[in-house]
Amino acid sequence: MSSSEISNGVNEALPVIEGWFTMDKADAHLIGSQCTRCQTYFFPGKVTFCRNPTCEGDTFDAVPLSREGTIWSYTDAQYKPPEPYVAADPFEPYAIAAVELAKERMIILGQLAKGITVDDVTTGMQVELQLQTLFSKDGQDYVSWVWQPKS
């Protein structure tokens, strides 16, 4: 994977958590695992033994998860979370969505894109995955996935 796409400033941007998503801004995906035996998906993808209790699988393929989904619910954060969250000063509230992926039949949380508030979304709305700088620390940008309502 390449992180050159979202280079911003002196240092190349880094993922907020290594290995959880591609750094290709044009085609952002969360990276999950899929059990080669029972086909169950896992996110985060770090899994050694299949957690489906009826499956004894222990080999997994790294797979890109669907980059579009449906809002299951949403909220926001009006107060600054504790560390290890790195907040802007002054703190900027942000919105969060829980998004259901149809193929994987799972719900994944994430912040909504900057500027999107709870008034802009509804349960059942279609969203897609994007990459965005979550915070900057010591001149280094850190990138996360965010959900963006589809226009």
């Binding site: 059990c35 086909q39 169950t40 896992f42 979370p81 290890p84 969060i96 949380l109 996360s144």
Partner: protein, 413 residues
């Protein structure tokens, strides 16, 4: 996706034999230290509660054969070995000890351990204690860079406890037509219930307008609708029914059932601290929370229709509505009607959180599930004073916390 609650009855194992042990276990005594932000060592709260429970039971500390302690994670080594810590503080006397930690279900797991010890005939009478001293503000993860810990990861991404509470609250609004006024009405109800409870931390009545005027924390939930963290301690003395009868106890309350089940894969609940649910691509989806009370009901041989009152985990005002459905007081989507009809207030058909709930207590993690049991014990004995529920014969608790823990206890008069 369709979501089942996953009764254990589906388990296809012909080797299982249940109900071999039929020895009844009863609550002999209950005691608490008032909830608050007292800033003292957690051991003080635990010993205060333990002594109160022993006095209530009418037995001496030296009579106790087994101590089950609920661990606390924020008070150093003494907290990790709480069973021993409380035993030493009460005075070493050669009792057996154990300590367990199960997040919010800690107290119930300790109670389950004591019950099992008695059912197995290894002891007759045991003490269960949980107590905590908590820091101010958000519960935060351990320090350091720990990307393999889901609790660390979610805080890194800005996902706090209120995030999860509010995702459920917003979904109730969008799917079942809950209103901000419904959520505030839960707070108002519980504040009224807890007003006369000497063990509650917050004893102040609110109006719906006051609740709705409190600052927004995580839309749609406001400050007065989200549970605080508190100091507190709770303890119960449990014994075999034979022991209680020999003692001549007239106030014993039967433990009808205890559930400490885990979730079933694929768990469909958006659950702290996870960033994603299980994938149901190759499995059926189950609701963990809806499965918790089922096992306790099955053990007790009763159903939700038999329940006189319930103590449930109102981590947020809105979450109490979810609990009405999880413990079967009404069908999914009907909790708002139950609330609006006044069924769940004291004087209604099935009062919920007569103690005042977490709204009036705040959460003292290892003590909280035991506090629910203490309240039901007082209610079923008819000793709850101004908040007494009439004709209280059967009580149920519902409780749920991080990392797949949950519990439900059925008590019967």
């Amino acid at each position: 996706m369709s979501v089942g609650s996953g009764s254990r009855n589906h388990k296809p194992n012909s080797l299982l034999r249940k109900n071999i042990m039929s020895r009844d276990v009863v609550i002999l005594g209950a005691g608490m230290h008032p909830w608050g932000k007292w800033g003292k060592n957690f051991v003080e709260y635990g010993v205060h509660a333990a002594r109160a429970a022993l006095k209530d039971a009418g037995i001496k500390w030296q009579d106790i054969e087994f101590v089950a302690g609920g661990a606390t994670m924020r008070n150093g080594y003494p907290g990790y070995v709480a069973g021993a810590t409380f035993s030493q503080a009460l005075g070493w006397q050669g009792n057996e000890i154990m300590t367990c930690y199960a997040a919010c279900a800690t107290g119930s797991q300790a109670l389950a351990a004591a019950r099992a010890k008695i059912q197995a005939g290894q002891c007759e009478v045991a003490l269960v204690v949980g107590a905590d001293t908590t820091p101010k503000g958000f519960l935060a993860p351990q320090k350091g860079e720990r990307p393999d810990d889901p609790d660390w990861v979610r805080f890194r991404l800005g996902i706090t406890n209120p995030t999860y509470f509010s995702l459920y609250a917003q979904r109730r609004k969008d799917v079942y037509g809950a209103t901000d006024e419904d959520f505030a009405a839960i707070k108002v109800k519980n504040a009224e219930h807890g007003f006369s409870n000497e063990y509650a931390r917050y004893r102040k009545k609110f109006t719906i307008e006051e609740v709705l005027a409190s600052p927004m924390v995580a839309s749609p939930l406001r400050l007065f609708e989200i549970c605080a963290t508190s100091d507190g301690g709770a303890a119960v003395v449990v014994a075999s029914k034979e022991y209680a009868d020999r003692l001549g106890s007239q106030r014993q309350i039967k433990i009808g059932g205890i559930s400490t089940v885990s979730p079933k894969f694929a768990s469909a609940d958006v659950e702290m601290p996870d960033i994603a649910t299980d994938s149901a691509a190759a499995s059926d989806a189950y609701s963990f929370r809806a499965s918790i009370a089922q096992k306790a009901y099955e053990e007790a041989g009763i159903g939700p229709e038999d329940v006189s009152l319930a103590e449930v985990y109102d981590l947020s005002s809105a979450m109490e509505l979810d609990w009405y459905e999880y413990i079967g007081l009404c069908a999914q989507g009907e909790a708002e009607k139950l609330l609006r009809d006044g069924d769940t207030r004291i004087g209604g058909r099935v009062p919920v959180n007569a103690s005042g709930g977490l709204a009036c207590f705040g959460e003292a993690v290892p003590a909280q599930a035991l506090a629910q049991v203490c309240e039901l014990t007082m209610q079923l004995r008819g000793e709850a004073g101004d908040r007494q529920v009439k004709d209280a014969n059967v009580g149920v608790t519902g409780n749920q916390g991080l990392f797949g823990h949950g519990s439900s206890v059925v008590l019967q008069r």
